[in-house]
């Protein structure tokens, strides 16, 4: 149960692969009816005001609303995460997939040459502020939480 997403606030943009519908038959049945099955990829689209309800997109693009409790009951492998949560994967190389909007943020990441496709390494995952090293030129920079949330990455080796 430790690998459950319990301590993490799911973030918009994260994507996960469902591996098992978990052991609450009611939730499982409910989700299966809606087309969420083992092997399905979910993308978290947005959060509702108190953060406990999420909107997710299922593979073909249908939108579902569900609660964090339901998501937590599923076994899922995250395949896309914001850089702020990569410690769930451990220290590895990550590939940047997309960057959120925002002028100052974009200016700063541009200056350091971070763009979709760049490979990054997080030096001490879980320690804030985050210390990141660019694989290309070995340049390192420090990212605050507010910035790390805006960078969606996947594992570079997988």
């Amino acid at each position: 149960m430790l690998n459950r997403s319990h301590d993490y606030q799911p973030m918009p943009g994260s994507e996960c692969l469902i591996t098992d519908l978990g052991n609450d038959p009611q939730v499982a049945q409910h989700l299966a009816q809606m087309g969420v099955l083992p092997g399905t990829r979910l993308r978290i689209v947005r959060l509702a005001p108190l953060g406990d309800t999420l909107e997710v997109a299922v593979e073909q693009g249908e939108l579902l609303a569900l609660r964090r409790d339901e998501l937590d009951a599923l076994a899922c492998q995250y395949q896309v995460l914001p850089l702020s949560q990569v410690e769930r994967w451990g220290p590895e190389l990550y590939r940047v997939l997309s960057l959120a909007k925002g002028h100052t943020f974009r200016d700063r990441v541009d200056r350091h040459g971070i763009e979709p496709g760049s490979i990054l390494q997080v030096l001490h995952p879980g320690q804030w502020p985050l210390r990141v090293e660019m694989e290309k030129n070995g340049e390192s920079l420090i990212l605050g939480h507010g910035e790390a949330v805006k960078i969606l990455v996947e594992r570079a080796d997988g």
Partner: protein, 709 residues
């Protein structure tokens, strides 16, 4: 003439069961085929009980039963149960399965289950217009072959494919039931074959095909089991089934037959889609995405919703009050005219002061009602409703409610009757009961007239919309608070999972909105012309009888001896009032006065509230009759709003509004509540709960306002 009769008796009746997942356009499709007016909305769970539509095409009479949408043939919710029960037990000639072409894979899960029933079936690939726009191309001939059932592309919106669909239904009706076409995975098919072989060897007779029966048994279908328990063959069959289970458990690595069948279903659906559907481009959700970025925004989403509601109530008052003045003037003139025409007789009084005053008081608010219903119709048909349910789910959850409760609650702003029915979509009985108990806090359309009347009487025009909004919002907040209290005390228990589909945004057609709103407006008028009319006449009689000749004589003498006109007028007013107070209604009012006096009401307001138990519109009708009679004699005729302002103090008025917000819904709604909740005792609880709450809060409102002004 003879010919026609023969023709009619020669018509064949085709009974069709309309089945499909929620929000795929089942009801809309029937509306376009059969010119029906079934309720259509852009969210899951619009249809909650079965409804039959009949129409004639050529030599055939169609009897189509619109069933509530369900994702699969399970029986968790009441609406799912309705559908499953109908399919299992009722008589029908064929199933019309409606499928959303833009979401075909998931829709085919249900189709697979329906095919396994081995009944005649026609599949309508609906929403073709949207599918074309989104670049989803379905090869319907190929799909028909794979599924072994006719598939027809339709669009309920654009009315395409309707004739083809009818033809397909007639053809299928006239042809033999084809063999079950469904192909499951090898191990599953193997076990099916085993059971079928055994049953065949035993020459077992059955209404459905043996293969369908075998599938039912392998799914552990309760009904198939029950039927078999009584058969002698059961003892021999049981070991075979058990062995089949063991094989399946082993093969799938799970002991959950539901899971196993889900897997099978999905494999069939995936296979069919892979062979027959081409997805062209991938810009499907771009528009929805853009709108949602704003409307479902984590921070501004809810304020936007509240702002829109506020706007709606501003419109309700501002635009609604323009024709209101004309309607008011019209009825005042009508009352005067009737009296002039018929003279000062009993008949004139019952028509003018009873019927016209009562009905007029209700019709007066038609414009407001129309605007309110228009707003609700927009909420229901655009797809915004589910979004707001999403935005509110977090708060609702904190107060022990389910996010889906939002749908019945919003419906409750229109009318409580469909709202009680709409709570059938909630899975858990506790959640459902809780929702049923607080629906009454959402002020229904019939209470709107009372609010408009009192707000109009006591507040400046530019505040009126705000006050109206405040009334509705505080009613809703009170309801949510009540939910919390009930959840902590009576309806304790674990939370239900929350999974809800977000429909696409759809621009409602003018016709759809028109149908919805005009239907409701007509119903309101019809009620005014029948039920309210009767109630007003009753109220008139109860307030004019018994006659008091001695009293009248005594006053008559006094009036004749009066020194001047002013004194005579005062005396005759006094007479009218004391006649009223000694009438039956006056007696009832005075009897209940002790209960209502601490809230600041005179006996007339008390009576109005009591008659409001029959229907909330009757409250204004009663006020119209009672305050109309009071100043019968005076020459100046004023509108109802003026009369309220003259006769009722502000604190009493506010206290009255609070009482109306909370107390028991009308008779019709109470009956539906009782049925949905499951017994008299719940209605008893509701009565006590609402009356106590209403009394306490009105008491507080009266005294606080009195201190402030």
């Amino acid at each position: 003439m003879n010919d026609v009769a023969k023709h009619q008796s020669g018509r064949k009746i085709i009974k069709v069961a309309l089945v499909g997942q929620p929000n795929v356009g089942k009801s809309a499709l029937i509306n376009s085929i059969g010119n029906a007016r079934l309720k259509v909305g852009n969210f899951s769970g619009v249809t909650v009980k079965k409804e039959v539509v009949r129409f004639v095409r050529g030599d055939y009479e169609f009897k189509i039963t619109d069933l509530p949408g369900s994702y699969s043939l399970t029986d968790y919710t009441i609406e799912e149960r309705v559908t499953k029960k109908y399919l299992d037990e009722d008589e029908y000639d064929l199933i019309l399965n409606v499928v959303d072409s833009t979401n075909i894979e998931r829709n085919l899960y249900l189709t697979t289950e329906l095919l396994a029933l081995n009944k005649k079936i026609v599949i309508a690939l609906n929403m073709t217009d949207e599918a074309v726009n989104e670049g989803v191309h379905i090869n319907e001939q190929q799909l028909s072959k794979i599924l072994g059932a006719r598939c027809v592309k339709t669009s309920a919106l654009k009315k395409t494919g309707i004739d083809e669909l009818i033809d397909a239904i007639i053809e299928t009706y006239n042809s033999k039931l084809p063999d079950l076409h469904l192909q499951f995975s090898e191990p599953f098919e193997e076990e099916i074959a085993n059971i079928v072989d055994f049953l065949q060897a035993k020459k077992f007779q059955c209404k459905i095909s043996l293969k369908a029966l075998a599938i039912k048994l392998l799914r552990e279908d309760r009904q198939a089991y029950q039927r078999f328990h009584e058969e002698p063959i059961w003892i021999e069959l049981l070991p075979i089934i058990n062995k089949a289970y063991q094989h399946l458990y082993l093969h799938y690595g799970t002991k959950d037959l539901e899971d196993i069948f889900n897997d099978e279903k999905n494999a069939v659906a995936k296979g069919a889609v892979a062979e027959t559907v081409v997805f062209e481009k991938d810009n499907r959700l771009s528009l929805t995405d853009k709108i949602d970025a704003l409307l479902m925004h984590q921070v501004v989403g809810l304020p936007i919703f509240l702002f829109m509601m506020w706007g709606l109530f501003q419109l309700t008052f501002d635009i609604g009050s323009i024709p209101m003045d004309w309607i008011d003037a019209f009825f005042v003139a009508l009352i005067d005219g009737t009296k002039n025409f018929l003279g000062h007789t009993e008949l004139a009084s019952v028509i003018a002061d009873g019927a016209i005053a009562g009905v007029g008081a209700v019709v007066l608010f038609l414009p407001n009602i129309i605007i309110l219903f228009f707003g609700i119709a927009l909420l229901e048909t655009t797809g915004y409703m589910s979004r707001v349910a999403f935005l509110l789910d977090g708060f609702f959850h904190k107060f022990g409610l389910h996010g889906k409760s939002f749908i019945p609650l919003v419906t409750g702003f229109g009318c409580s009757v469909p709202a009680y029915m709409a709570s059938r979509t909630l899975k858990n009985d506790r959640d459902r009961l809780l929702t049923l108990f607080i629906i009454g806090f959402m002020s229904c359309g019939a209470r709107l007239p009372i609010y408009v009347l009192f707000v109009g009487a006591f507040f400046a025009e530019h505040h009126a919309g705000n006050i109206l909004f405040l009334i509705y919002i505080s009613g809703a907040l009170l309801g949510i608070l009540a939910a919390k209290i009930l959840k902590m005390t009576v309806f304790k228990g674990k939370d239900e999972p929350f999974v809800m589909e977000m429909p696409k945004y759809r621009l409602p057609s003018f016709k759809l909105i028109w149908h919805t709103v005009s239907g409701q407006a007509l119903m309101y008028l019809k009620k005014a012309g029948t039920f309210i009319l009767m109630a007003s006449v009753l109220v008139w009689f109860a307030s004019n009888y018994p006659k008091q000749p001695e009293l009248e004589q005594a006053y008559q003498i006094k009036i004749e001896q009066a020194a001047d006109d002013a004194q005579a007028k005062a005396l005759s007013n006094e007479l009218a009032l004391s006649k009223l107070e000694n009438s039956y209604l006056g007696m009832i009012g005075h009897a209940s006065e002790p209960f209502f006096a601490p809230l600041g009401y005179d006996w007339r307001m008390a009576v109005a509230l009591e008659t409001g138990l029959a229907a909330k519109e009757v409250v204004v009708a009663t006020l119209g009759v009672l305050y109309g009679l009071g100043d019968d004699i005076t020459e100046q005729h004023t509108g109802l709003i003026e009369k309220i302002r003259e006769n009722i103090s502000l604190p009493a008025g506010i206290s009255f509004i609070v009482f109306v917000m909370i107390y028991l819904p009308c008779l019709a709604a109470s009956m539906v509540f009782m049925r949905e909740a499951g017994g008299w005792k719940y209605l008893g609880y509701l009565f006590i709960f609402t009356t106590v709450t209403a009394w306490l809060l009105s008491f507080a409102a009266f005294h606080i306002t009195r201190m402030l002004v």
